[in-house]
């Protein structure tokens, strides 16, 4: 294996490959930082260019775009509270408060270090544990999937606000909104208008919920009008902060690797779950949501931790875990390679080249992150009274361009008003969002499980894996209620 890896290293380490990866990473960071433009869009737009390229450079370009956009989403999440990608929504919880405190540089640096760490660990996992993880992922059926999602939701609802009940209310609202549109058997639900038959897209809901309420806060309360523009301020992450965040970073990376390897879950759920776990186990748990670097470390390491591991089911089993890996599957096939167990026999050299290229791209991500950080640093100096309306216009154009739909624009504005009302009632937005993203999968797997068992709900606790996730969910609930009651006593 070592000999093969060295040969692959020699083949990948060319100026041409480095330039392609650098362009992919840098382009991905910029696209990810623009609200409404996603990694999926970047990868899909780049696909036609790969027709004219060699197989491995073309896959590396797509992987680099994916990694870059995943990190790029955190830049706008921290600076303007508008997550560029859904997986960066969790980073706003602590990134934006840090930026408001004049420590945007610290937040961006922590996001970069954590993203690179998560990415690197994810790549290592792809190289060394692809096969066993893929086998484990295959054993996850509808009941296990349902329980895993329940566990993820419980974690998020319990930790992203100061009240478990309000977190659960928020999650219920998200789950309910996710039922709008056509269900898995073709029935239409809540189709009040024709546009609602296809359901509500994630991007307008996500951006409306996080970005627009900021504008409404400035308009209604006027409390930020006199505030000074944000400063990049303290740029460095101290050694103490790094040491303190290391545990959250490693746990986040591990959660990202495992959740990324399971087809369908994706980086958003991983980021929120890692955030929940970091808050639960941190000594500074009260500071989460107010600008805690550990929170940024957990969410960013988890979402980038998914980047490499989403390739595990693709390469080992030929199963794409999400839309991006679906596009990559297309790219592999265009170049005459069919991902799956046979690929490890027929195209082993190409697989090793891909592994090595992905390791290089982690290093390039660090460089691109540092460069773009300086470029985006000017954003933090814009006064909020000018910035918030500007963001609104960016969102309107970005959201419309995704599917040329005015309905999405209306959803964006409506969700902004709804998000502001949630803020007034102190209902946290994060559980709503993650429930909205996971809702369709949660329902689908519940209905599949019930159909399999002929309506017997005991199937949801029929295997050791379901028991494990149910026990974990219960454990999180009990711990959260205990913590909140102790706080009330104090």
């Amino acid at each position: 294996m070592l000999h093969d890896l060295l040969m692959a290293f020699q083949a990948v380490a060319t100026i041409e490959n480095f330039l392609i990866m650098a362009a992919g990473i840098w382009g991905g960071v910029i696209i990810g930082a623009i609200p409404g433009m996603t990694g999926t869009m970047a990868v899909t737009l780049a696909l036609p260019f790969t027709f004219y390229m060699q197989p491995i450079p073309s896959i590396l370009l797509l992987v680099a775009l994916y990694k870059g956009s995943t990190y790029g989403g955190s830049v706008s999440a921290i600076l303007i509270k508008t997550p560029g990608t859904a997986s960066a929504a969790c980073t706003t919880l602590d990134g934006y408060p840090l930026a408001q405190q004049g420590k945007a540089g610290k937040a961006l640096n922590m996001a970069l270090y954590s993203s690179c760490t998560g990415d690197f660990i994810s790549n290592l996992s792809l190289i060394f544990i692809a096969a066993p993880l893929a086998l484990l992922a295959l054993r996850i059926g509808p009941p296990e999937f349902f329980m895993l999602m329940v566990f993820a939701l419980t974690t998020v609802a319990g930790v992203s606000g100061r009240s478990l009940l309000l977190g659960l209310v928020s999650a219920c609202l998200g789950l309910l909104l996710a039922t709008v549109g056509e269900d898995m058997y073709g029935s239409f639900r809540f189709d009040i208008t024709v546009d609602m038959q296809s359901g509500l897209a994630v991007a307008p809901v996500l951006i409306g919920l996080f970005a627009i309420p900021e504008l409404l806060k400035i308009i209604v309360f006027r409390h930020q009008q006199t505030a000074k523009p944000m400063q990049m301020g303290d740029n460095r992450v101290t050694r103490e902060e790094l040491r303190r965040s290391l545990k959250a970073m490693l746990k986040g990376s591990a959660i990202g690797v495992v959740m990324g390897a399971i087809p369908g879950i994706g980086p958003s759920a991983a980021a929120f779950s890692a955030y929940g776990e970091a808050q639960r186990s941190s000594k500074n748990r009260d500071n989460f949501g107010h600008g805690e670097v550990e929170g940024i470390a957990a969410s960013e390491s988890a979402n980038n931790g998914c980047c490499g591991s989403t390739m595990i089911p693709l390469l080992a089993l030929g199963v794409p875990g999400d839309v991006i890996t679906g596009v990559m599957l297309g790219a592999f096939m265009i170049h005459g390679m069919t991902p799956g167990p046979m690929m490890f026999e027929t195209n082993l050299n190409e697989i090793y080249m891909l592994f090595i290229g992905m390791m290089f791209s982690s290093i390039l991500l660090f460089g691109a992150g540092k460069v773009t950080m300086r470029m985006f640093s000017h954003i933090s100096r814009i006064p909020p009274g000018m910035m918030a309306p500007t963001v609104l216009i960016l969102c309107l154009f970005g959201i419309f361009s995704i599917s040329n739909s005015l309905f999405d624009v209306y959803v964006l504005l409506a969700m902004g008003v709804f998000g502001f009302l949630m803020y007034l009632f102190a209902i946290p937005a994060a559980p709503f969002l993650i429930a909205f993203i996971l809702g369709p999968m949660l329902e689908e797997n519940l209905r599949r499980a019930l159909a399999l068992s002929r309506g017997d709900p005991s199937i949801l606790l029929s295997s050791p894996i379901t028991w494990l996730f149910a026990a974990l969910a219960l454990f999180v609930l009990i711990i959260t209620i205990r913590q909140q009651l102790n706080k009330a006593k104090r």
Partner: protein, 168 residues
């Protein structure tokens, strides 16, 4: 705030459960195999939401349960401004959003976005302090975005019936 919030949550989920689901989530006449009906999940979620809303109301009467039911008081969020002023500002902002939605099919995406940006800059108070910058931004940014998305992503923005009638 706790009682009001709990009541609002309970009423919202109650309306969904008792009014919207019976009308907008019809049960098909034939369901294949043992598949649960389409209204099973929305009913479960809204029933849970209704219960949580009622629990919020109940816990609001207990000081010990404050940390679970009511972590923040309304005055912390509101500050010193009178409630009527805040409500008026909120109503104006929502009216601006509604106006935008109504004007896009008539004036087109670009022109309405310019007007929207100008209005928002005025509402945040920035336009009063720096009018020339606000005007330049309100025209320049939507125009730049319009050309960027039209040329780079081939997005076709709505022209609007008025501009179409004028031959654009």
């Amino acid at each position: 705030m706790g009682v009001w919030r709990g009541a609002c949550v309970a009423v919202l989920f109650g309306i969904v459960l008792l009014v919207l689901i019976p009308v907008y989530v019809p049960r098909p006449s034939f369901i294949p195999g043992f598949a649960p009906p389409p209204d099973m999940w929305p009913r479960t979620v809204s029933g849970l939401g209704l219960a949580l809303g009622l629990l919020l109301v109940a816990l609001s009467f207990s000081k010990r349960a404050e940390a679970i039911a009511d972590p923040e008081s309304a005055s912390v969020l509101r500050g010193e401004a009178p409630k009527a002023t805040l409500l008026l500002r909120f109503a104006l902002a929502v009216a601006a959003f509604v106006l935008y939605a109504l004007l896009v099919p008539f004036l087109g995406f670009l022109l309405t976005s310019i007007l929207m940006l100008l209005l928002m800059l005025a509402m945040t108070g920035y336009a009063r302090a720096r009018l020339p910058v606000s005007l330049a931004l309100a025209i320049g940014l939507p125009v730049a975005l319009f050309f960027f998305f039209s040329s780079a992503l081939r997005t076709r923005f709505p022209v609007g019936s008025l501009l179409r009638a004028l031959g654009f």
